[in-house]
Structure formats: C-alpha cells, structure tokens
C-alpha cells in the first residue's frame, strides 16, 4: 500500500492510492492521510482509487474518517477512478449517497 499526494490548488489536494487498502494496510497510512485532511487550508480532497486493487470495509472506514474530518470544516471528499470492487463495497456499506463519487471509469453500475 502506497499513497502519493499532490497539492493542486491551495485548498485542494489529490491523493492517489495504490495497491491494497484493507485492514492490514489502513493502520499504516491512516495517520498520513488524516493529517493531510486536517491541514487548515484544505477544503477538498480528491481520492484517486484507479490504482487500487482491493478495498475492504476498513478502507471504507478510513474514507469515512477523512470525510468526517473534512466535513467538520465544511470541506468535501471526492472519490474518482473507482473500479467495480470499490463501487460494490461502497454500495454494500450503504454509503453511495454520503460520498461524492465520480462514475466515469470502468462501468460499475
């Protein structure tokens, strides 16, 4: 599990996740991603999941935490590049309305 972050605008940050995001890898990246979301100016975080091979409920929980951090200061979390697995997991968790999901890549619906 790896992630890289990129500051596009002063208030927008793009996080690219790579590999497996599951209950083994979440504890390793949680702190880093949350601290990005906590930065004062950041209002929009975009998570690029296109290189994510697997996502489990722990990964979803991490996204919820990020969402909560951002929502606390009026920010937004945007998910892009979801593969089929990610779309299913989010739908199974009944969170499709909570996340701002971009349904462009690989037909999930």
């Amino acid at each position: 599990m790896n992630f890289t972050s990129q500051r596009l605008e002063p208030n927008k940050i793009v996080v690219q996740l790579e590999g497996l995001l599951n209950r083994w890898s979440v504890p390793k990246v949680r702190r880093g991603i949350l601290s990005l979301a906590r930065q004062e100016q950041v209002e929009v975080m975009e998570m690029d999941l296109s290189r994510l091979s697997k996502l489990d409920t722990a990964g979803i929980a991490l996204m919820v935490e990020v969402l909560r951090t951002l929502a606390g200061k009026g920010g937004k979390l945007r998910l892009t590049g979801l593969n089929e697995n990610a779309v299913k997991m989010i739908r199974l968790s009944r969170l499709d309305s909570a996340f701002d999901v971009e349904h462009s890549t690989s037909g999930g619906s």
Binding site: R23, T57, A58, A61, L92, S93
Partner: protein, 268 residues
Amino acid sequence: MRHSNVIDIRGLNSYYGNRHVLFDIHFAIPANRITVIMGVSGCGKTTLLRHLIGLKPSPPGRLLVDGEDMGGFNEARMNQYRSRIGVLFQSGALFNSMSVADNVSVPLRVHSKLSRETIRIIATIKLHQVGLSEYCDYMPSQLSGGMQKRAGLARAMAMDPEILFVDEPSSGLDPITAAGLDNLILELRDTLGMTIIVVTHELESALHIADQIVVLDKGRLLAAGSPENIQSSQDERVVQFLQRQADQKHEDTEAYIKALVGRKLRQL
C-alpha cells in the same frame, strides 16, 4: 488458482460418544455460491456445521478445505482457516458483557492493528447493513432475539470473511426481517462473491436463496442439488419433506410400545 469447491465432504461419519449422528455424508460446497443445508430438527444439521467450522474434529481425509485435509490441521492452520470464515450461531452468541458495537469490534480488535476510531466506524457500517445502526450502544440483553441474531450476523461479517456460515438465520424473526436477511445474504454473494452456507428448516427461504440445497434426514444425506432438482425430485422422502407432510412413520410402532411398557410387543 482457486479450487472451485471450497469444501469437499467425503464420507463423513460423526459420533457423540457412542451415538452415531452422521452417516457417510458426501457433497461439495462450491465457491461463491449459497449452499443451504436443510432438514427437520435433530437430523444432524448443526453437527455437520460444527464439523465445517472445526469445532468438532473431523476424521482424517473426510473433510477437505481447498483440497487440503481439515482433519490434519494443526492449531495455526485452523486459525488461518478461521480467519477466513464468519459464523452466525443459532442464538446469536453475543457477548453479554459488552455493547452491540463492541461485540462487532471484538474480532477486529484482536486480529488487526486498526485504531479504535476505525473499528468503531466498521462496526457501525456492519450494523447498518443488518439494520441495527441505531442500536450500537445497546447491551445485547436489551435487544429482541431477532435483533440479537442480526447483530450476530454483523459480527460474523466484521472481518469481511470469504466463507460465511449461518445457523438458522430466520428462526424467531418476523417475516419482513427474515426476507430482509435473505436479501442481504444474496447481496453478499453477488457483490462480494462470498461463499455462504446456510442451515435452516424454512423451505421457502431456502428455495429463494439457494444455489444448492442439501437435505439431511436422520443423519443421512437424502438429496443434494439445485433448488429445481430438489423440487422435481421423485424420491418419496424428499417429496414428503417438501410437502411438509406430517411424518407418520417417524417412530416405529414397536419401539413406541416398548418405550411405553418397557417390553417387546409380542410379549404382551
């Protein structure tokens, strides 16, 4: 490459002390499918389940997991197998000393390094899936039996298992909740490709969800096949089971009289 049958049962016999409860059971549990084990109470369904989840040791060579003999599992290998499965027990088996959310968190707390926050969110997500997210901080004793069972299902799903064992999911539930559970089970198969084994005696629910139905009777395998096959079966006992006829020949008369008067009939 994954073995297409997750579990192979090859001639399993089982005993409680001297009592013979399972006779030469033969069937396979295909991956990513729902297998329903049916039968009247006391037919050995639960015993079979206990073999499948390793609570009752299996004789060597009779039970294969991914082609590997479960009878030869040592403790570490068994724990590895168990980390892939989730089990919902008949009673729900919630720990009554802790809240519902804590119950769901137990496997995560023991087996992962996730933070308390993350675990709490996962527990809430799982409870939401079974329709109990408002009851996170209730104690099990404050829930109805059906709710306890649903919370137990949430706990069984906490680790995102590959194989889910469910013992009597709908007994004691109102029809609407039971139908909701059936749909959740179908959804788990469709979205996550889970292998699900359901033990039940409710025919309607079995026909609705099953990809494969296994019928047990008095410890013997009566029939195994798709729901259509089972329904069109010509076997007398299967037909009887399906039509839910009262089982007239259940007890043979002689044994009945003997039990009553303590001696053989002809001696009377």
